[in-house]
């Protein structure tokens, strides 16, 4: 079991760079220093807004590097604290260790130690008390109680794993890989009361339910797109004008699965008259073959006027996939054997799924005095993220700052600076985040070398 936990944790660490991509973050320290906003026409803008294909990436965006190379100071410290040849017995990964803290491990997964943690978010370490009588069960989670979610919680995103192709004359032909997943859980009122109410706690005869809704689908999508300039400014040599882009995708779904239903604890009356029973009554839909088919599209607009630029891109419009061969199963809990039992309900039936609409709106103003202000609003499938940032360049120096509102609707802050010496620059960005299982913000320092 320990080996499995370590393996999973390490696999997640390896995959962790994907997560910043989902959150529309990058390894660009400049971006971190501006609260997460990107002031350049980078891949993130093109991913959401096909009109950006008609604009040059670096045109008139002075100070935009060709690429950034992250300096993984966090990894150096991590492997110093957790020697790679001792990970198997490391208390962080060893549930049998008395020092093992599942929250610390979760925080590590949520916040991969690529960059240096200036201030770590504290993990709860309080005692947990159960008050038990024949007809009484009260759980006092202490300071950890604030972590019990009041609304649904989970993870989800719509990603384009790759987007390869070529084009001419404004047209673009290619194929992209898509992956959409959303896993959400909701605690019903009885379960939430059981976990948070230190006076009443669990009531006799309660049914404590954890409602789950998990969906995942992925595949390939051949794509035809067009991006062009509709209007010019006074000087056609500049980027001024209105740009329009669009793309049509033919989705070829490879696999699909959806699990919905409750996991329950049936409390006895009296509560400890007998051992509480557990129940699962879920519905599982899965594809039998890689046969999802559907059509959807992206549209985008960009308007550039002198120092001002604004864009809006919307993805997966009308994207509905029809899976012609799926099966419906019921998942129940066998109280006698303690095992989950799957029974087939219907097979070879058609199921339709939708990809959530995702979008990004962005704006930037280059003031001509070395100052650039920008912001964006991004929804990649689970909540809206807002970034606003500013960069001031003076000679070889740059000063940056920004704020953002994350998916949990918490304000975050960024501050950074940079030094450019010819074709090479060094950038540092500090940013706060609340991705951890903690009520307090952590501060991370990102460092990167930029190549101009």
């Amino acid at each position: 079991m320990r080996t499995g936990v370590v393996a999973v944790a390490l696999a997640l660490l390896v995959l962790a760079p994907l997560r910043p991509a989902h959150a529309q973050f990058s390894f660009d320290a400049r971006r971190y220093g501006m609260g997460g906003v990107s002031l350049s026409r980078d891949g993130n803008a093109r991913r959401f807004n096909p009109a950006y294909r008609a604009l040059k990436t670096n045109s008139r965006t002075s100070g935009t590097p060709k690429f950034s190379i992250p300096i993984p100071i966090g990894l150096i410290k991590f492997f110093k604290d957790h020697p790679i040849n001792q990970l198997g017995s490391d208390p962080m990964f060893d549930p049998k260790s008395t020092a093992f803290n599942p929250f610390a491990l979760t925080n590590l997964i949520f916040n991969p130690p690529i960059f240096y943690e200036v201030k770590k978010s504290p993990t709860p370490t309080n005692n947990v008390e159960f008050t038990i009588g024949k007809n009484q069960l009260i759980m006092n989670l202490g300071g950890s109680r604030v972590l019990i979610p009041e609304q649904d919680f989970g993870i989800g995103s719509t990603s384009r794993l790759f987007d390869a192709g070529a084009g001419f004359g404004g047209f673009h032909f290619g194929v992209m890989g898509f992956l959409q997943y959303n896993v959400s859980f909701t605690l019903d009122s009885a379960l939430r009361r059981a976990l948070t109410d230190t006076v009443t706690g669990v009531r006799p005869g309660d049914t404590l339910s954890l409602l789950s809704n998990a969906v995942a689908q992925g595949g390939l999508a051949p794509t035809v797109g067009f991006a062009g300039r509709l209007t010019h400014g006074a000087d056609p040599a500049t980027d001024d004008g209105l740009y329009l882009g669009g793309a049509v995708h033919y989705y070829l779904g490879a696999t699909y699965g959806r699990l919905t239903g409750p996991a329950q604890i049936l409390v006895g009356n009296p509560i400890f008259g007998t051992t509480p029973a557990a129940g699962v009554n879920d519905t599982l839909r899965t594809s039998n073959k890689a046969n999802g088919r559907g059509v959807g599209g992206d549209v985008g607009l960009v308007w550039v006027s002198g120092p001002f630029e604004v864009g809006l891109g919307v993805n997966d419009i009308g994207a509905e996939l029809t899976w012609s061969d799926t099966k419906l199963q019921h998942v129940t809990y066998n109280t006698a054997t303690g095992n989950l039992v799957t029974t087939l309900d219907t097979n070879h039936v058609e199921t339709k799924t939708k990809l959530p609409l995702t979008y990004m709106a962005n704006a930037a103003l280059r003031m001509g005095t070395g100052t650039t202000v920008g912001g964006d609003v991004v929804n990649s499938g689970r909540g809206t993220i807002i970034h606003v940032g500013v960069e001031q360049r003076t000679g070889p120096f740059a000063l940056r700052g920004g704020v953002s509102r994350d998916q949990r609707k918490r304000m975050q802050f960024g501050l950074g600076g940079g030094l450019r010496l010819g074709p090479i620059g060094l950038d540092v960005g500090f940013f706060t985040h609340s991705n951890s299982l903690s009520t307090q913000r952590a501060i991370t320092m990102a460092t990167a070398i930029s190549i101009y």
Binding site: K96, T125, N127, V128, F130, G338
Partner: protein
């Protein structure tokens, strides 16, 4: 049957690196007839026992946890309505019913010499046991024993009422 319940409770308990503390009202698991015992014992009997044992439950899932400490407290009231003698009040805990009354009691208190009309409170000193594997389980047995020695003369009659019996079990929980 209890896997999900155990998983939830253990995950709840895993909210941090601290300990899991179970405050158990053992008295609540006893029937009214268990917590009040009347007795009538012939005079001149050097030792006789009146006992009751009952099973009670702990939250499932902590079987693999290590027990740091167990603190037991109890209180009882004894009324002597006839005759005279001594009563010793003992409390035992065990994983199985068959072994409840073997070994040393966790709590013990003696009434001292009693005569008809006496009423005493029995307040055994709080006991603390460390790393006690008896409590490494989901179900436990509690045993209450009144060990009676009577004076020569009329029958000793009276009533023992258990007023409080609590356990505080501190566990170092293990997830797997």
């Amino acid at each position: 049957m209890k896997a999900l319940t155990a998983a939830l409770l253990v995950l709840v308990a895993a909210c941090g690196q601290g300990r899991v503390i179970l405050n158990v009202d053992v008295l609540s698991f006893l029937a009214a007839s268990d917590s009040v015992k009347s007795f009538s014992v012939l005079g001149g009997i050097p030792q006789t026992d009146s006992t009751v044992s009952r099973q009670f439950f702990l939250p499932p899932g902590f079987g693999k946890s290590s027990v740091d400490s167990v603190t037991a407290t109890a209180a009882a009231a004894l009324i002597c309505t006839g005759g005279g003698g001594n009563v010793r009040f003992d409390v035992f805990f065990s994983k199985t019913q068959g072994s409840v009354f073997t070994g040393t009691p966790y709590l013990t208190a003696s009434s001292g010499p009693l005569v008809a009309g006496d009423s005493v409170s029995l307040l055994p000193p709080t006991s603390v046991s460390l790393a006690d594997t008896v409590f490494n389980t989901d179900t436990l047995w509690v045993g209450i024993r009144a060990r009676i020695a009577t004076n020569v003369g009329p029958n000793m009659t009276g009533r023992l009422r258990l007023q409080d019996l609590h356990l505080r079990i501190a566990l170092q929980d293990k997830l797997f």
